[in-house]
Point group: C2
Amino acid sequence: MKLSTRVTGLLNVKYPIIQAGMAGSTTPELVATVSNAGGLGTIGAGYFSSDRLEQEITYLQELTDLPYAVNLFVPSDKLYIPEKVEHMNAWLKPYRRAFNIEEPVINMTEKQQFKDAIDLVIEKGVPAVSFTFGIPEQTVIEKLKERHIKLIGTATSVEEAIANESAGMDMVIAQGSEAGGHRGAFSETASQLTPLIGTMSLVPQMVDQINIPVVAAGGIMDGRGLVASMVLGAEGVQMGTAFLTSDESGASQLYKHAISQSKETDTVVTNVITGKPARGIENEFIHKMNEYDDEIPDYPIQNQLTNALRKEAANKGNAQWTHLWSGQSPRLVQHMSAWALIENVVKQANEIMNR
Amino acid sequence: MKLSTRVTGLLNVKYPIIQAGMAGSTTPELVATVSNAGGLGTIGAGYFSSDRLEQEITYLQELTDLPYAVNLFVPSDKLYIPEKVEHMNAWLKPYRRAFNIEEPVINMTEKQQFKDAIDLVIEKGVPAVSFTFGIPEQTVIEKLKERHIKLIGTATSVEEAIANESAGMDMVIAQGSEAGGHRGAFSETASQLTPLIGTMSLVPQMVDQINIPVVAAGGIMDGRGLVASMVLGAEGVQMGTAFLTSDESGASQLYKHAISQSKETDTVVTNVITGKPARGIENEFIHKMNEYDDEIPDYPIQNQLTNALRKEAANKGNAQWTHLWSGQSPRLVQHMSAWALIENVVKQANEIMNR
């Protein structure tokens, strides 16, 4: 078994390790460190304006000449329903008051923002783009492929993977149920918010059904996870929580501390924080939101409704009222440079493969 | 990497492959075939009277001289609450009528049944016993250990694994969220019925925290799953769904067919069928039971209340009103002898390890 795969070939990187594009928690330093260490760093641009994205890319290009990716959230067709927003605003009022936060103005500029990001990615010659929450329109895919930008899709089920392959993605991330943060899903199951298939089940079933390379994600923290994923047929891994707690990550000390103090049983998948299902450590905020007596507004509305509240709580050192995205392997986090993390993962993987 | 581990040593088997003790679906032929092929077959005795268990062991001993296990359900302290039973009986009435089924008489003989099974296991010199739903009392463990019977615990979290180790289990099964059938859990999490930790997350975190060997379970169907589990630090695997659909299994054709026609997104974890959380293919029965307007009676009561109904539905060829336990990898099931299955798993594992 070798660490050079179709994924390393397509992305032109040394190791088949992708740092997940964790919106809100990546920094140019993190992305550059990962890429300079031989992996693929990813700017988590899901929440970025095009100005902000341009700044990050410009700064990143000073820090590395090696390939990196930009992660974008594919916009949905969700509507702004004033009554739902009013209802949630009324419900959030006492909590906002407690943190001295104003009611936010909601913008529904997702689609324009995505369009601008695509134009910018082309203009800046970004080497790779990864997508979360769906597959962009065919015209967008064609435009990116013409510029030889590598396209990384996200799938939480075999059917989503097949859809990604059909749309022309170069590779697809198999996001297992263990993964922290937003579920990249764009399909629903009868009884659950989104598919929640464990990585051990998802990867081999996906590999058997598609021809493009599969990148495993969910629960992977070290060389054991990397080699296990490759044994299952993946040609690379995407790691989120492991990089979130690295030195270069943009996550606050509060956030990193909460993850390192938590157990594998402490996370839940919930849509109450942003309007999209995501895995994070259960806290007071999630408990209170679970008592909400109506449907949670869709993403991006709920995200904007709770955003300032969560930020202010984090600023005040209150981990109970902010988001604490984490996968199911918090016991395996290590606090070190992303560079050392990649070195350790590769070293352990090589030791296992040579056993 | 080698297939001989502490697990093969302790159990005195050739391969680190345990056939899960699927209550209701094992046959002496299945257990013997697995053991004769070099794995550890397991009599799923969770629902058995001691007479039935004695018959099965006696017959099995004619079919194999090699080690096997008996799986037992550790009794709980749940009470029989007449009002809850009456309420459920009233609710089930129209469905029972449709299948021409009488209201069952509930017995609360779990504890006596477990005690009798332990005595029988000792009397018959059963080589290994695995436990689901908890850890037996210390006196039981000591009695079994005195007879050098190997003890296999089940854990769905690191804390449950530590409890198993402290109690004196020889090894522990790490039951990942992908696993089909009953969750072996005996702890609750704040927001879920039981811990649902993916195998990719659960195994390495468990291996790091205990010294007894870990056996991975959940989503493992082939040589890829076996080697991936061992890379994560497990010293063996337990496979359920893969053996459920084998030729020697006691599962009906209806049941096997339903699994082979299903996708990874078709299962749910529910307590509506037996009163304990278990993963199975979502069907009409689960949908209807989800509409029940009160708390589901505890196991073993709910199991007994719905048992005849499910059996009769299966007899009538109705897969919508029976239980269809399955893990999250139904796309990987193969219809073959359990012997060929083990041969294939080992062959593929060796190929991967020699790559």
